[in-house]
Amino acid sequence: MYRAHVLVCGGTGCTSSNSKKIIDAIEDEIAEKGLADEIKVIQTGCFGLCALGPIMIVYPEGCFYSQVKVEDIPEIVEEHLLKGRPVKRLLYEETVAPDIIKSLNDTAFYKKQKRIALRNCGVIDPESIEEYIAMDGYQALAKCLTELKPEDVIQIVKDSGLRGRGGGGFPTGLKWSFTAKNEADQKYVVCNADEGDPGAFMDRSVLEGDPHCIVEAMTICGYATGATQGYVYVRAEYPIAVKRLSMAIEQAKQAGLLGKNIFNSGFDFDLHIRLGAGAFVCGEETALMTSIEGNRGEPRPRPPYPAVKGLFGKPTTENNVETFSNIPQIILHGAESFASMGTERSKGTKVFALGGKIKNTGLVEIPMGTTLREIIEEIGGGIPNGKKFKAAQTGGPSGGCIPASLIDTEIDYDNLTAIGCMMGSGGLIVMDEDTCMVDIAKFFLDFTVDESCGKCSPCRIGTKRMLELLNKITDGSATMDDLDKLEELAYHVKENSLCGLGQTAPNPVLATLKFFRDEYIAHIVDKKCPAGVCKSLLKYVILEDKCKGCTVCARNCPVGAISGTVKKPHVIDTKKCIKCGACIEKCKFNAIIKK
């Protein structure tokens, strides 16, 4: 028995801000003080509050230390672990009340969250199968193999109302039943962990924080659908996730929870990992399977659907990481318990990766039906620097945006679709008044042009032409005619592309056109970028009344575009100006503005 446990986040965010060195430092310090038998240090998965990393929690008190530095460790060990006095200075400020230390679950960031998919992240040591088993791990698998028939398992998943968390929202139980009813000598289960949306990292966090959960869920899926082989397709950019998943598979094999005759039920199941190589289109299910087969990851036309002809031409069930992570909980606690959360047609919870212009960047899991306002203002802590909220982008390059006027939208699949947006895999990027919506649309389109696999022409050529039109708009040479062309082309690409990538690529343009058409018009007609982002449309101007004539700007201008005499207001020659911003950075009197 240990009298205290120190949990340090070992997710990618905190590892990037040095949590490894912190673990080493604590272990050294504890050993030096002779506390190694009394205190256990555990490296966990993501706690979610990545903006405050590295994060460390000390139990039994549950003290939440944020932005810990290696230099702070001796003080924490000496004061807290040795003398029992938490170091208030280093605690997350929201947990510090005058005379008590509040529980983490009472803080604004965690209060409204409900953790199902992330239940073990930040709680257990992901590299230990014993800790997973202690949290009821593999019990759901045991229940399936010893008490339930495959069709019962599928019925439970159907009744739970679980829908695919990768973005499309297809009912998971239904998908499983399609594969189950197809007879074949070999069937497969595939886990899509090729999380390619920029700004989304929930699948990575599940794999890093709770890898056994995916092993268990895939085995259950194999049992339910009659598959004996599984593949996890993970991005190579996620080395920690790959390492922990490989460990989990190895441990499960040793414990007899993977392999031949699991739980003496006569059921065999084996898992393999395949690494992606950085192609966004491989997140599309048919492209992903083509890639596992060792080819260029190009999508195939559907039908035939993977449930009929999938990986290696055999019936295949494919789900994404977050979908699988819900399965063991559904089996253990029943379909009703899961279906009691959420809205009428979207059950359970959804994990969002909160990023962009928001105070608490990180990972949040909320019941379906939570409003965007609650996510941004309460959980996210609002927009920094007193700026105004402008829009939230969901679904990455396939999604759309939710404008400030719809901030009270309850987040679920159907509400988002209804406003021309989409759930997507869960990236939620918050934008403030300094963000130009045309520029954002251009950014996403630039991404899809780059990632289009080239197989079908609507996507390959159409997205490229759309990007050219957007470039014309942002550099001020477009006409209103171009705007009509852009919109028309967007619908063509959407309707005629072969796979999900092309079919959704125009979404960022269509959504911004729907809610922020005035910004497009400002670019085209007034030749102005209201947010002050699009370089070609900006003019740098020196305010006469504020300029003291100190000459700093003129001396720093790389192209000699600023002239004037000492102690007299200066002027910028807009013909020479390259809009590099060097003058604004150097001016001490805020006398230079972009307009």
Partner: protein
């Protein structure tokens, strides 16, 4: 995706070739392991020179055009070598809205090459990368294994100075 193909001549050692042959021998029974072999080959050489792709094609008994097709399809496979210090600037959404493009432009300006290129002395190479998931630290760049977060343009010269030799 358009890829830059290196003009720097190929120079592989016999040890590297022996390791590649070993990996090919372990995996040539299953053609679906082609990407795995190519990933390992890239670990050995740092990139996938044409000569290495020929060895893989021969060893795995897969047509060279298919190997080349795969190597040009996936962003991870490099056809140009990496510098001693590889700089990678995240252009994911969160970093982008917080100004990572300006950071990338500044670095290119300081070391005088474009993204996807390597300096002729093979000291620096630079690339724009997709979201590395450290959005809480935006904007982010990495130089080999060092991570730099919450960057501003005026920090760049100071940081690069540390890697000059």
């Amino acid at each position: 995706m358009l890829k830059k193909v290196s003009k720097i001549p190929f120079s592989g050692s016999p040890e590297q070739e022996a390791r590649l042959k070993e990996i090919i021998a372990e995996n040539c029974h299953d053609k679906s392991l082609l990407m795995h072999v190519m990933q390992q080959a890239q670990n050995i050489y740092g990139y996938l020179p044409f000569e290495v792709q020929v060895m893989i094609a021969d060893g795995m008994d897969i047509p060279l055009e298919k190997v080349y097709g795969v190597s040009t399809f996936y962003a991870q496979f490099n056809l140009t070598p990496k510098g001693k210090f590889n700089i990678s600037v995240c252009l994911g959404t969160a970093c982008y809205v917080k100004g990572s493009k300006a950071v990338l432009d500044k670095i290119c300006q300081v070391i005088g090459i474009e993204p996807g290129e390597c300096t002729p002395d093979r000291h620096f190479s630079i690339e724009a990368c997709r979201c590395i998931g450290a959005c809480g630290l935006a904007p982010v760049m990495t130089i080999n294994d060092d991570v730099y977060g919450k960057l501003t343009v005026d920090q760049i010269e100071g940081i690069l100075q540390k890697y000059k030799d």
